[in-house]
Amino acid sequence: MGVSVLQIFPDASRSGCIETEKLHKRIMNLDAVQCGMFTVDCDSYYTTAQTGGGVRKMHIVHNTETPATTYAILDTGSKQVTLSADYLFDLMLPRLDHMYQSKKNLKIESKGAKYEVGDFVVKIGTVTMSGHYKGILVEVEYLPSVTPALCWSLMREFMQSFMGSCVKPTVPPYLQNKFHDVHTPQDTVQQYVEKFNEFREGPTFTGATPSAPSS
């Protein structure tokens, strides 16, 4: 497990496939090897009763990179707790429906191709929310390193080499908070949830204003 960084790629054409095709071409020019597909999906559950300190959200995330694990991310507004559980946890959720109920229309997923470039793994995902196209999300993972502090500027250089100026020179806030910690699969999943929430709240086409890509 290396260090992962997520980046929303602005899509001005609002079509999806044209931009992913562009990224595909650029990454293939870097001697990339395509190695299969990936999917990260996220279901969100909200508390039914509005009593006692606001709505609590629970995001259930599956990542095809860790197929036997279900991640449950609890967001109380003030605090986030990420639980890694066996996939059987999914069967537990119907038992909790007196407290938490699924928002079916918020089901969101990022799906696409996976590439290997040297020691980097790049995943170019198309984000769809309940069937509607939302944007492009690129995950870049650098395998040999364990903490963002050591390899952030190196990863930024790599990301800028095929995504250009949409990669900001500053460290993303999530990584900034865990800059010196050892990166775990939970950190990757939490970044996905963060980006998914941006997609949910933002307009259907994030690339509508290419000068200000949400980040």
Binding site: V117, G118, L143, V146, L150, C151, S153, L154, S161
Partner: protein, 307 residues
Amino acid sequence: MAAPECSSVEVLTTNLNSLRTLRSSVTLFFKIIAEGPKEENSNDGEHSFPEMAAKCLTDVKNNLRDLETHVAGLTPSTVPVSLGNTGLLSLDPSPDKLPLYHQLLDCYTYVEKIHCYSTLMHSLLSGNNLKRSSVSLPLSTKRRRPAQLNHSVPQQQVDMLIQGINQMFQDMNLNISRPFGNNAVVQVTLGQVLRAVVTFRGILIEWVVVRAYNEPLVDEDGKVDLYTPSQYKVFQKVTDNANAAMLNFCSPGFSDLSVRSFFTWLHSFVSLFTDVCKKCNYHLHNHMPPTWREFRTLDPFHEECKP
């Protein structure tokens, strides 16, 4: 030192000679006995059979006395080859393994000689590489054996050296273990960047493997993994470079210095992912960070940007 060594060889030769004389006189005696007395009519010889036998026996006695006095003058060998557990091989009674021990001894002696010669050569060559013809060193020092051989040093000396290096760097942790008897294996953890396994033979570095921080140092059986290369390209490259550096730093005359310089060089990889190449000012070239460190200045370079 040379003189007693020579004389002891001479003593050994005379010993062997007297042993040979003894053997031949004994053989002669048995030959006379076996042939028995000559036929009666051939008593033209000046010596009769009992006389002949008695004369031979006296020879044997004299030769034996000679040998005994010579042997008493011999001193037992003072420098035994330390073979560690392998020395026990000589005690193996099974006949098919018997030659193994002698082959092993030959091999060790050979290697020792090579090391010895290479040390002498090194000191000669490093003395003055412009003056080719004349060797200024006096003859006696040229023939001198080095006091200590690099590949068989006491464990304490290696331990002390490693301990000293361990205290030189705060963020580099060295852990010494001896899974194969006498020779040390040092497990290196450098910050959160990499882990390395350095195999020693005596005080010489024999082999280096560098792996990522999150790759295991031990194999499935819980033993130190000396051989498996890293699964990441960047550390495979660093492993190659580390072995090159190990050979570059190796100098038989100053082995502890060479080990210390190697570890100083290895320590410079603490900034493997954060340094930019000195030449091109970029992190990445061919998707690799600068995996080369200049030997003296420790400046980072890409493989392709090497000066």
